[in-house]
Symmetry: C2
Subunit: 323 residues, 2 copies
């Protein structure tokens, strides 16, 4: 009889512990998710043809939907960031992956970085020439190497070990970029793609991928592959992805600075983002997208345009180019 009571008592205890655990998990679990994506800040005229506007709306909508599908199934912020950026890298309409612009030597050099807000783990690649999806290689640097950043051939050697998809450098010679390059059009020359996500577990992640500055000198590294300058994520504060004149974003530590202003000065995400983009940076230098740990989001830019979209679990779904 005493054994039965002991067993019942123990079973009750276990059940109670599990109920408390479940409740704890339930409480910690934010059920909201937020996705913000950008396709670069620039000087896009409001007079672009409707057909081009449609192209951007369609692509950014598709990017957001890829993220929604992942996050609604309780997928991670990191997976959403990677898969959204993979889509934009494979889309020739953006200066990242397939649509990468030309260097001054008529080649292509791609950069990308990704960061998880859970533990500040991060990975990046700079100056890769044959990697189809640089953001995925950046994630492998983060998860499968003890390092943060690989540049040039060393990055590609690591890619070989990781079995990522290689392409010839002329895979990035899209007819549109080639035509623009031949005409030396400067429009959109600094665009980049990026994404920040808060997932249902309350984890933040950020990623940025780019073909770099059109006509850049070979070997030039901008802010996109640099954690703290172009990309930052920290569950204590926010996730940020930047786009614009990379050198200014490095000198002003833009992505990390927004997090620092929140953490050290108790600024809101909106205030911190505005201060960095509107006050600290010169006009026409670029912009950022960001989401904080509570699901507030920001998209600030001091250029004429920034292609961007936002979607969340409350049903908000919006694409914008100007304003």
């Amino acid at each position: 009889m005493r054994n039965v009571i002991l067993i019942l008592f123990t079973a009750g205890l276990i059940l109670l512990t599990q109920l408390i655990d479940l409740k704890g998990t339930e409480n910690n679990k934010e059920s909201r998710y937020v996705i913000v994506v950008h396709g670069g800040a620039g000087a896009m005229s409001k007079n672009i043809p409707d057909s081009l506007r449609e192209v951007y709306y369609k692509s950014l909508s598709e990017a957001l939907n890829i993220g929604k599908n992942i996050l609604e199934k309780d997928g991670s912020a990191l997976d959403a960031v990677e898969k959204i950026i993979n889509y934009l890298e494979d889309n020739p309409d953006f200066n990242a992956g397939k649509g990468a612009v030309f260097t001054s030597e008529d080649t292509h050099e791609l950069d990308a970085s990704i960061m998880s807000g859970i533990d500040l783990s991060c990975g990046a690649v700079a100056g890769v020439k044959h990697i189809k999806n640089p953001i995925s290689l950046a994630r492998l640097v983060m998860e499968k190497s003890p390092h943060v950043l690989f540049a040039g051939e060393g990055a590609e050697q690591f890619g070989k070990k990781m079995n990522v998809e290689f392409v010839e450098n002329d895979y990035f010679h899209t007819p549109e970029q080639l035509q623009k390059w031949n005409e030396r059009k400067s429009e959109n020359k600094k665009v980049t793609v990026g994404c920040v996500v808060l997932d249902k577990k309350g984890n933040l992640a950020a990623g940025t991928s780019t073909g770099g500055m059109s006509g850049k000198m070979p070997g030039r590294v901008g802010d996109s592959p640099l954690i703290n300058a172009g990309t930052y994520a920290n569950n204590k504060t926010c996730a940020v992805s930047a786009t614009g004149w990379g050198e200014l974003f490095i000198r002003n530590t833009v992505a990390f600075n927004i997090s620092a202003l929140m953490e050290y000065k108790n600024m809101s995400l909106k205030e911190a983002s505005k201060l960095m983009i509107m006050d600290r940076l010169p006009e026409k230098s670029g912009g950022i997208i960001a989401v904080d740990k509570d699901g507030n989001y920001a998209a600030e830019f001091n250029t004429n345009s920034m292609l961007r979209g936002i979607a969340d679990s409350d049903g908000n779904f919006e694409i914008k180019i100007w304003e």
Copy 2:
């Protein structure tokens, strides 16, 4: 007569303005200078032979004297940083320039960065294999290119244009490094050199140069060439140069973070440096040297040793390895 009075009055006004100007300049001018230099944080045993201890004392003394000569003649913080680091790069006893360690492929890849606190201008090179003095190439990136960071071959192409001194990669095969490498000694594997200076005009500068992590995978970029992680200078706050496990310094934005804690949290240089190195970073990960705009300096490390020296215009002159 009225004209004479007018002329005298105007002359008086001009004289007065100039006197006020001079006074203003005099007031703004700090007559103090401070130099802090490091030769890397590591696990150096206190039982090293006296002869080796002498080598380090002599080299760091010489480095400080090079800086003193420049600063006493009203030279700039930037010149002092570059020339001090040039000396350490040419000295085979440090893991930078001539004494660079081996990569996993038995080659050498060098990184360096430099920053001016006056206007946050900065320059860096990563993964160069044939540049005798990477810190000088970093300064040329800062002053003669619109960019901040060049990696790999592109950095060397830029070096060719700038006519810097090239060497064969085996210039860096010093007998001592070769012996260490052949014996696969891990001691000192992460050391770096760096320097921070406050000059008499009150300007700050910081620089860092390294041969990277011994046995690193080719293409791996640590914190040394990364502004904000390994090097930072801002006349509003401080100048910092870091040494240690680069990936942790990138993830924790160490150099910029010390400046941010001072600017946003009103911490002293000492408090900010201690917080970063002792609380935010894991044990045995490295250290920093720093000097603030008022001439306070700090040398914090969570490793067993950090080779370092400090000299200032008040006559302080000190070299330390442990404590």
